[in-house]
C-alpha cells in the first residue's frame, strides 16, 4: 500500500474516533431523564416536563403505564431512572429491595376519589344517589390491583352499602377502564379519579360527587429515584422540581391534592 | 332433433352456432383447440350461460325468447370430462350411487348392473376412487353418468388424458355404449381417429362457427372445406366382412357389395360382421390403367369426381367414386405434378390403389 494512501486512512480513522467519543461523552450541560409514570398522572407530567426542560435544558423521556407492570419491568432491569407511581407501596418496596435509592421516595400527589355519572343531574353533592337512584351497574377499579378501587370499596363499606350494591358492581381493570364503562353509558355510575374529570380544556361533563377524604384511606402517589438514575443529576433535579410551588399548583389544577407538610 | 342455437362472446371470437343434431347415435364436435367445442357442450349442460336456445326434442332446456332456463341439476343429461372428476371422499360404489340415488325411481331406465357390465368395472366397486388408474377412473366416471338414465350423454374429450394403450382399452366400451343404449351422445374431440371410430354425425368447428355438419362419411368425403384435416384427411367407410383368407391372414371388407371390396389384415372379425374402415388420403394413389406387378394390394375402378387445393402448394386433393353404383367416395392426396402428368379431370376413369397395409378397421 502506498505511503500516501496509508496516511489518508490513518487520518480518516482519527476523525471517526474523535467524532464517536465526542458523541458518547455528551455535554455536561444537557442531560436526559427516563421517567416511568402511572397512567393517571401522564397528563400533568407532560405539562410539568415542558416547564422543567425550559428551565434546566434537560430533556424528559416519558413511559406511561400501570404501576404494577413497571415494578415487574424494573425488577427485570428496565432502564427507568424515575418512577411516579399510582400508590405508595411500590416505591417503598423498590427502595427496600435495593432497586431504588433509599429515602428518595416522597408523596408527589394525593389522589381524590369521585363518584361520577356521564349524565348531568344524576349524581348529587352528597352521593345519595347510591342509596336512592335507580341504576343497574356501578363501575369500580379492581380493588386488588388499583388503589382507587380499594378506596371505592372503603367508601361503600363506610356507608354500609357494600352488601346491598355488590350485585351491581362491575370491576374494571383500572380507573381508565372504569371511566370507559361510565362514559359509554354501560355503567350508570362509577368511582373514578377526580383528575380524570378535570382535564384542563376537556371537562368531562355529567355530574359528580367529590367523596370526602375521611371515608377512605389516603391514596398517596409516591415518586422515587431508581438505581439507574442515581448518578444522573437530571433525575434528582426532576424529583426536586416536583416539590416546587409552580409544579404543586399545576398538580392541584389537575385535581390532585398535596400531602400535609409533616408526613 | 337436438336443437342448439348458441351465441357466446369469447376472448378471441364469438361463438355463434345453429346446429340440428340427430337424437340417435354419436355426434362428434371436431375442431382445433379453442374453437368453442367445449363451450358448446357446457352451454348445453347449463354450466355456462350462452344466449339462445337448447332443446332436446320437445323438451326445452333454454329459450331466451320464452325466458326459460333450466338449471343444470334439473336437466336429465350426463356429462363426462377429461379428468374423470370422481368424488375423492367416496368409493367407486359411492360414486355410482351418488347419481343413482338422485334419479327418481320412475325415471330409471339403466340399471346399475347394466352400467357396470357395459364398462367392465365390477372388480373395482369396493376400491377408493383415488386409487384408480386413469383408464379405470374414466370408465367409472362414464358408468356414474349413465346410472342417472340420462336422455343425452355429453362427453368432452374423455380420452384426451389417457395414453394410447388406455385409449385402445376404452374405445371398445364406448362403441358398445352407442350400440347398447338408445341415448344420443355428443362427443367432443380433437383426435380424428376417435371421431372416425365412434361418430355417426360430424360437426366441424372453427373459431366459433360450424363450417360443416352432416353424416360422418359425407363430411369426411368433402374436399372443399377451408379447414384442412391435415394428415388425418381421409374417408370413413362402412363395410361388411365378405371373405377371410386364412393362409394370408387377410380379410376382404366389402364397401358396396362383393365386387367392391378392400383387402385388409384380418383382425378376427367373423364373416358378415359390420366394420368401419378408414382410408387416409395419403394412402390412396391413382393410375390410368390397372397395374400388374405392383405390391399394392387393392385396385378398384373408379371415376374422378372433383379436385381441390390442399394445404401445401405442392399438393391437391382428389375425390373419386368407386363401386358398381359409383357411390363409394375415396379421397386421394397427390402432388400437382402427378395430377398434371395424369391429366386428371372430373369425369375421367381411373384406377384407385390402396395399400392393404394402410387399412385399419
Amino acid at each position: 500500500m502506498s505511503h500516501a494512501r496509508l496516511m489518508r486512512m490513518a487520518a480518516l480513522a482519527g476523525v471517526l474516533t474523535a467524532a464517536v467519543t465526542a458523541g458518547m461523552s455528551g455535554s455536561a450541560q444537557a442531560a436526559e431523564v427516563q421517567v416511568a409514570v402511572a397512567a393517571n398522572f401522564a397528563g400533568p407530567l407532560a405539562r410539568i416536563a415542558l416547564a422543567y426542560t425550559a428551565a434546566t435544558g434537560h430533556t424528559v423521556k416519558v413511559s406511561v403505564g400501570a404501576t404494577g407492570k413497571f415494578y415487574a419491568q424494573i425488577v427485570a432491569g428496565a432502564p427507568f431512572e424515575v418512577l411516579l407511581a399510582a400508590d405508595d407501596e411500590t416505591p417503598a418496596r423498590l427502595a427496600q429491595e435495593g432497586l431504588a435509592v433509599a429515602g428518595s421516595n416522597f408523596t408527589y400527589a394525593i389522589g381524590k376519589l369521585a363518584l361520577w355519572s356521564a349524565q348531568p343531574g344524576v349524581v348529587d353533592a352528597q352521593g345519595a344517589v347510591l342509596t336512592t337512584g335507580p341504576f343497574s351497574h356501578l363501575a369500580i377499579a379492581n380493588p386488588k390491583i388499583a388503589p382507587y378501587g380499594q378506596a371505592a370499596v372503603e367508601v361503600l363499606k363506610a356507608r354500609g352499602l357494600m352488601t346491598a350494591l355488590a350485585p351491581k358492581i362491575v370491576t374494571a381493570e383500572s380507573i381508565a377502564q372504569a371511566y370507559q364503562f361510565v362514559v359509554t353509558g354501560n355503567a350508570e355510575l362509577g368511582f373514578v379519579a377526580l383528575s380524570q374529570l378535570l382535564v384542563p380544556g376537556k371537562p368531562a361533563g355529567g355530574s359528580y360527587w367529590l367523596v370526602p377524604p375521611a371515608l377512605y384511606g389516603e391514596i398517596r402517589q409516591d415518586a422515587v429515584l431508581l438505581k439507574a438514575g442515581a448518578a444522573n443529576p437530571a433525575a434528582s433535579a426532576l424529583l426536586a422540581w416536583l416539590k416546587t410551588e409552580p409544579a404543586k399548583a399545576l398538580i392541584q389544577v389537575y385535581g390532585y391534592g398535596h400531602a400535609s407538610p409533616a408526613k | 332433433m337436438i336443437d342448439l342455437q348458441l351465441r357466446l362472446p369469447r376472448a378471441a371470437y364469438t361463438l355463434d352456432v345453429a346446429l340440428r343434431l340427430p337424437e340417435r347415435g354419436v355426434t362428434a364436435l371436431f375442431g382445433p383447440s379453442g374453437c368453442g367445442k367445449t363451450s358448446i357442450l357446457r352451454a348445453v349442460a347449463g354450466l355456462e350461460r350462452a344466449a339462445g336456445r337448447v332443446a332436446l326434442g320437445d323438451t326445452v332446456w333454454q329459450d331466451d325468447s320464452l325466458q326459460v332456463f333450466t338449471p343444470t341439476h334439473r336437466r336429465p343429461l350426463a356429462y363426462v370430462i377429461q379428468e374423470a372428476a370422481l368424488f375423492p371422499h367416496l368409493s367407486v360404489q359411492g360414486n355410482l350411487d351418488y347419481g343413482l340415488l338422485r334419479t327418481p325411481a320412475a325415471q330409471r331406465r339403466i340399471a346399475l348392473d347394466q352400467a357396470v357390465a357395459l364398462l367392465g368395472i365390477a372388480p373395482l366397486l369396493a376400491r377408493r376412487s383415488t386409487t384408480l388408474s386413469g383408464g379405470e377412473a374414466q370408465r367409472v366416471a362414464i358408468a356414474r353418468a349413465l346410472v342417472t338414465s340420462p336422455r343425452l350423454l355429453l362427453m368432452d374429450e374423455p380420452l384426451a388424458a389417457l395414453d394410447a394403450a388406455r385409449k385402445a382399452e376404452i374405445l371398445p366400451y364406448l362403441e358398445g355404449l352407442n350400440a347398447a343404449l338408445a341415448i344420443p351422445i355428443v362427443y367432443v374431440s380433437h383426435a380424428i381417429a376417435e371421431v372416425a371410430r365412434l361418430a355417426d354425425h360430424l360437426v366441424l368447428l372453427d373459431q366459433g362457427r360450424a363450417v360443416a355438419q352432416g353424416p360422418l362419411a359425407e363430411v369426411l368425403a368433402r374436399i372443399d372445406l377451408p379447414q384442412s384435416l391435415g394428415d388425418d384427411a381421409g374417408v370413413v367407410l362402412d363395410g361388411v366382412v365378405g371373405e377371410r383368407d386364412g393362409s394370408w391372414h387377410l380379410a376382404r371388407l366389402d364397401v358396396d357389395g362383393p365386387g367392391c371390396g378392400l383387402w385388409a389384415r384380418d383382425q378376427g372379425q367373423p364373416l358378415g360382421q359390420r366394420v368401419r374402415l378408414r382410408v387416409l388420403a395419403r394412402d390412396v394413389s391413382l393410375t390410368h390403367a390397372q397395374q400388374t406387378g405392383t405390391s399394392i394390394g387393392n385396385q378398384l375402378a373408379g371415376t374422378v369426381e372433383a379436385l381441390a387445393d390442399d394445404d401445401h402448394p405442392a399438393l391437391l386433393l382428389v375425390r373419386v367414386r368407386v363401386g358398381p353404383h359409383a357411390a363409394v367416395p375415396l379421397v386421394a392426396r397427390l402432388t400437382r405434378r402427378s395430377a398434371q402428368a395424369l391429366r386428371l379431370a372430373p369425369g375421367m376413369a381411373v384406377w384407385v390403389q390402396v395399400k392393404t397395409v394402410a387399412l385399419m378397421a
Binding site: 400501570a66 404494577g68 351497574h137 363501575a139 379492581n142 386488588k144 390491583i145 362491575v170 370491576t171 374494571a172 381493570e173 377502564q177 370507559q180 364503562f181 359509554t184 353509558g185 354501560n186 355503567a187 | 349442460a45 354450466l47 338449471p71 343444470t72 341439476h73 334439473r74 336429465p76 343429461l77 350426463a78 356429462y79 370430462i81 379428468e83 372428476a85 368424488f87 375423492p88 371422499h89 351418488y98 347419481g99 338422485r102 334419479t103 383415488t130 356414474r144 353418468a145 342417472t148
Partner: protein
C-alpha cells in the same frame, strides 16, 4: 382449586362451546359464500372478515362497548327487543367472542372451500344435485380438514382471549369472570400460586379438548383431497 376457580372453569367451557358452535353455524355459510363469489365486492367482504385480526383486543372491546351501550345502535336494538343490554352479561361475551374469533373460523373454511376443484361441483350438478345438496354431499365432506382447523382455532382463540372479554364482561364472578380474566387478575395482583393453578387448569382443559378433536379426525386425513397418506 377453589369454588370460584371451578366456576371460572365452567364459565370458560360454556363460553368456548357456545361461541365455537355459533361460529361454525354462522361462519360456514359465510365462508362458502365468500369462496364461491366472483363479485367485485369479494375482496371487501374478505377484508371485513379479517378486520378483527388487525385491531388490538382492548380497542376492539372498547368499540364494542360503545356499540352495545345505551347510545349505540346494537344497544338500542337489544333494548327495543326487550333484551336489555349486552355488556356485563354472558350473552354479551358470546357475541363479542363470535366477532373477534370470526376470522379464525372463516378463513380456514374459505380456503378449504376454495381448494375444491370446480369440476367436482359441476359434476355433482350434472348428477342431479341441487345447490344445497351439492354443498352438503360434496363441498362439506371435502372441506373437512378445514372444518377441523376452523373449530380448533375458534375454540382456542376464544379460550385464550381476554382483552375483549375484560372490556365487555366487567369481570363479574359467576357471570363473566372466565379463566383468562381470573388468571390475568392473579398475575396483576402478584398472587402467583393462584395464577399457576389457573394457568395449569387452562392448559389442561385446552389440551383435553384439542387432543380429542385431533384424534377423532385422524381418519379424515386419509380421505383428504389428493392425500397420499399411507393406509
Amino acid at each position: 382449586m377453589t369454588a370460584d376457580e371451578w366456576t371460572a372453569v365452567r364459565l370458560t367451557a360454556a363460553l368456548a362451546a357456545s361461541a365455537t358452535a355459533l361460529l361454525l353455524l354462522l361462519g360456514t355459510p359465510l365462508a362458502w359464500a365468500l369462496a364461491r363469489s366472483r363479485s367485485v365486492w369479494k375482496p371487501l367482504g374478505s377484508a371485513l372478515v379479517a378486520l378483527p385480526l388487525v385491531l388490538p383486543p382492548t380497542v376492539l372491546g372498547f368499540y364494542l362497548l360503545l356499540l352495545m351501550g345505551p347510545q349505540g345502535p346494537v344497544g338500542q336494538f337489544t333494548q327495543a327487543l326487550g333484551l336489555g343490554r349486552l355488556p356485563f352479561t354472558f350473552g354479551g361475551l358470546v357475541v363479542a367472542s363470535v366477532l373477534y374469533s370470526l376470522p379464525f373460523v372463516v378463513q380456514p373454511l374459505q380456503q378449504a372451500f376454495e381448494a375444491i376443484p370446480e369440476r367436482l361441483l359441476e359434476a355433482a350438478a350434472t348428477l342431479r344435485a341441487g345447490p344445497w345438496d351439492c354443498f352438503f354431499s360434496v363441498a362439506l365432506p371435502l372441506a373437512r380438514p378445514g372444518l377441523v382447523t376452523a373449530t380448533v382455532l375458534g375454540f382456542a382463540h376464544t379460550v385464550g382471549e381476554f382483552g375483549v372479554v375484560l372490556m365487555i364482561g366487567g369481570n363479574i364472578p359467576g357471570v363473566t369472570r372466565v379463566l383468562s380474566v381470573a388468571l390475568y387478575d392473579h398475575v396483576e395482583a402478584s398472587e402467583f400460586a393462584a395464577a399457576h393453578r389457573l394457568a395449569a387448569a387452562m392448559v389442561v382443559f385446552a389440551l383435553v379438548v384439542l387432543v380429542t378433536l385431533y384424534a377423532v379426525n385422524r381418519p379424515a386425513r386419509d380421505r383428504a383431497l389428493g392425500s397420499a397418506a399411507p393406509r
